[in-house]
Amino acid sequence: MSYNIKVSNPLYDVNTCDDKDLSFTGEGNLLKVKLEGDYSITIPGGQDEASITIYHNLGYEPAVLVFGKRGYETSFRQRLPITGRVGFQRHFCDIYADRIVITAIDSCPVTDQQCFNRIANPRIFTGHYYIFIDPLPS
């Protein structure tokens, strides 16, 4: 005998509505959060790049969702990976079977002295990450 559980969105009949009008069904998987948290990455003055590592120890590469800043001075956030067209500011996440590594890059074109003066100081990139229990499709 098979079992199921369904919960419909408000005003929908759970017995007759489309799957898209369900808020939950046992027939469709949901992303489950294993770990989440705020992070902060500091690129030391004069350097282009820094990373942080967050261990999950799941034994497989999990689905991940990260929101962070493109530039240390900006007030807005974006979903990673983030890059500008020129590519001197990048913020991305590498996913491994035991950890994720979130990297921020803030570099300069070789001829841009104003930029080099700017990156002589430390830059802090912040964000929020979600590591899901659910594996990436193999």
Binding site: F24, K32, L80
Partner: protein, 125 residues
């Protein structure tokens, strides 16, 4: 205090013994939730940039944004869509109680873009 909770396993998995990854749902683990879904349009003249801001009062929450940069063809634009191979591209900035979608139209003619979005309950920072 008594233990309580709900677990639902995936098909052909024993809910009492299966790994967490084989569950559909468990009250032990948070799941991303959609607070609001919506759509809007943005008309952008050729070779110009347009923007539209969607306001909400949910604080710093994540959003997922999709734009039909090509007719009937949607792309993720909550970060940026550079590199999708389309002449036009879009990107999104998330703020505390709103998000702004930008589109740069290089399609060769004025276009009205359809923007679909999901606002998540989950934090973005």
């Amino acid at each position: 205090m008594a233990e309580w909770g709900i677990k639902v396993s995936q098909e052909n998995q024993n809910v009492n013994t299966c790994a967490d990854k084989d569950l559909v749902f468990s009250t032990n683990w948070n799941t991303p939730k959609i607070i609001e879904r919506g759509n809007t349009t943005l008309t952008v003249a050729n070779y110009t940039e347009g923007e539209v801001t969607i306001n909400h009062n949910y604080g710093w929450v994540g959003v997922l944004v999709y734009i039909d940069l090509a007719p009937n063809k949607y792309y993720f634009c909550d970060a940026s869509s550079y590199g999708t191979g389309q002449l036009s591209y879009g990107w999104c900035y998330i703020y505390e109680n709103c998000f702004t979608v930008y589109i740069n139209n290089w399609s060769g003619a004025e276009r009205t873009y359809n923007i679909q979005y999901l606002i998540l309950r989950e934090k973005a920072g």
